[in-house]
């Protein structure tokens, strides 16, 4: 008995994790159920119908907004993750140097300001630039999103780096690997879980943003959240649930495929 146990196990942790997953999916499940509601309500069930899927399918505004959210999130999260990885490499695993604390505070700054403040300030600055350059594309939204995504990507990557031991990298350097090769072959693979976690956080954060987007967007640049914000004041119908359900289905599908492919390789 004494030697026959798993050192990794902690009492009750698996149970808490399962409860956690259950609670995470509970609202999502109700959301999906009400997407099939025959009535116009999010709370009163009136029978099964696909009418809200049909409505969403015919609503090109919603589809465009959803697509736009997705594109912005992919660009912003990618830029943020790359920048954050580089910054994390520069601010860990070394004796504190002048400016390191400053960098740390600077990079985390977007977290500390309520969104509305950044939003108003960006409105003032970006609209000047829009007037000067005549460019009013999605670039502004991507830049703004990338900025507030950086700390969300930076913190998990940094946490990962701080826990990494330096032996392997030193060994690589001792074997005369160039710094780039040592990074690519040794550091990067070790760092990958942190990068994946950081990217996913950044992606989710960008998808959710309402306030900054509302102030920075130009004509015809509604994202799904700003589109929904406009609906809140008047009437919310299960059409939104239908769209979310479709998105969920697609993402579950992608994840499943991704998982199957990556399993085949190993």
């Amino acid at each position: 008995m004494a030697r026959h146990f798993d050192v990794r196990r902690q009492w009750g942790f698996a149970t808490v994790a399962m409860i956690c997953f259950f609670l995470l999916y509970l609202p999502i499940a109700t959301l999906v159920v009400f997407a099939f509601n025959a009535g116009p309500s999010l709370a009163v069930w009136e029978g099964v119908s696909l009418k809200w899927f049909v409505a969403a399918w015919n609503n090109s505004d919603v589809q465009e907004a959803a697509m736009r959210s997705f594109i912005i999130a992919i660009f912003a999260a990618t830029i943020a993750t790359i920048a954050a990885t580089m910054a994390a490499l520069a601010t860990t695993r070394t004796a504190p140097y002048r400016g390191m604390t400053f960098k740390y505070a600077f990079i985390n700054q977007p977290l500390m300001v309520p969104e509305i403040v950044t939003a108003v300030a960006l409105l003032i600055i970006f609209s000047r630039i829009k007037v000067w350059t005549g460019y009013s594309g999605l670039g502004y939204l991507i830049a703004a999103h990338a900025a507030f995504c950086i700390p969300f990507a930076y913190l998990p990557i940094r946490a990962r780096l701080e826990n990494m031991d330096l032996t392997l990298e030193r060994a690589a350097a001792d074997l005369y690997a160039t710094p780039w090769n040592a990074f690519r072959r040794v550091t990067l693979p070790l760092l990958l879980p942190g990068i994946v976690a950081g990217f996913m956080l950044a992606f989710v954060i960008s998808l959710d943003d309402v306030v900054i987007t509302e102030f920075v967007k130009s004509g015809g640049q509604d994202t799904l959240p700003t589109y929904m914000l406009g609906q809140l004041r008047r009437v919310v119908t299960p059409e939104m649930n239908a769209i979310s359900t479709v998105f969920l289905a697609i993402s579950v599908l992608i994840v499943t495929l991704f998982f199957l492919i990556s399993r085949k390789k190993t």
Partner: protein, 344 residues
């Protein structure tokens, strides 16, 4: 991965395409969310060969801040009556003279000489309504034409009342309820207003938007809210009735106007003229569920809207309603302080 790639390419295409967005035959409308009938837009696009883009806002202040900052690229905006004088005063609107347009004859006389745009030199009526009392009459059978429903609630409704999170509307109704006039600076009266709100707030359940489904699910028993929403709520819960507070209630009217820095002025003028056509105005009302201010549009409206009690102000209450003027800045500051104290 392929999806990522497609999305990335689409993104690049959008980035590239955006700079040439100001091509001919375009119209950029900046309007409240969920307020613009897609069918009406489609009809306009087909009739005039113009590509229309609708972008949403969710508050007058946001819209004003965005347009004032410049570089927005919008042609048409739809501000509320109490903001219209600010828009005009700050020189943001084009004096497009809708009063000389062909369809102006259809505008109801009542909405021509309005305080916020006398003679309609800038703007065209879009939708109008009022903030009043919504009550689920299965819970409360008494008089509902009074602000007492949310300021001195009957015991049946305590803990079931929702109040729209609109500082101006709530302040207005409370000031009138306490016997004052809008924009008053009478300290004694304002103290009573504050005390009344502080006393009433614990009896409310929420200060939220989106009341329709809450009346359907019977989470709410009463609300201080807009009449169009009351009509939608009644469709889902037949016990819902709308009351016109006799002490005083705020009207609103949103009007469409052309921006001074609009790039598509001609198309914007076509659009203003277009929405003064009764058929098209009826399409807007059918979608947004408020009255529109264009004569003759009733005959094109759906049956359930023609005689909706929420949309027709009874004669005896007509005088109680008022359009809110913008108050002087120091008055707004007073009201904001009271509001902050109530919501702390």
């Amino acid at each position: 991965m392929k999806r990522t790639l497609t999305a990335a390419l689409a993104g690049l295409a959008m980035l590239a395409g955006a700079s040439s967005a100001q091509a001919e035959g375009q119209l950029n409308i900046f309007n409240w969310g969920n307020y613009t009938s897609p069918e009406m837009i489609k009809k306009f696009e087909e009739q005039h060969k113009v590509k229309v883009t609708v972008t949403d806002y969710d508050s007058n202040d946001t819209a004003l801040a965005k347009v004032r900052a410049g570089g927005h690229g919008f042609d048409i905006v739809v501000p509320s009556a109490n903001f219209m004088p600010i828009w005009i005063q700050e020189g943001l609107l084009l004096e497009s003279r809708p009063d000389q347009m062909e369809n102006f004859k259809n505008v109801d006389e009542r909405w021509v000489n309005v305080d916020w745009d006398p003679g309609r030199r800038y703007s065209v009526p879009w939708q109008w309504g009022l903030t009043g009392i919504i009550v689920d009459t299965s819970l409360y059978k008494g008089d509902i034409n009074t602000s007492a429903i949310f300021l001195d609630p009957p015991p049946e409704l305590v803990g079931k009342i929702n109040v729209a999170p609109e500082m101006n509307d709530v302040m207005y109704a409370t000031i009138r309820y306490m016997g004052g006039q809008w924009c008053t600076t009478d300290k004694d009266l304002l103290r009573k207003v504050r005390d009344k709100l502080v006393e009433a707030k614990p009896k409310w359940i929420a200060m939220d938007y989106g009341v329709i489904e809450k009346f359907a699910s019977r989470d709410f028993g009463a609300a201080f809210y807009w009449n169009g929403a009351a009509m939608r709520a009644r469709a889902q819960n037949p016990d819902v009735k709308f009351g016109f507070p006799k002490e005083g209630f705020p009207y609103f009217m949103d009007s469409a106007a052309i921006l001074k820095d609009a790039k598509n002025v001609e198309n914007a003028k076509l659009f203003l003229n277009f929405i003064m056509d009764p058929k098209n105005a009826a399409m807007i009302s059918d979608f947004a569920r408020y009255a529109n201010g264009i004569k003759g549009s009733e005959q094109f409206m759906p049956a359930d809207m023609k005689d909706a009690p929420e949309l027709i102000v009874p004669k005896e209450f007509e005088a109680a309603g008022e359009f809110l003027k913008p108050c002087a800045p120091e008055v707004t500051e007073l009201y904001t302080k009271i509001w902050t104290e109530v919501l702390k």
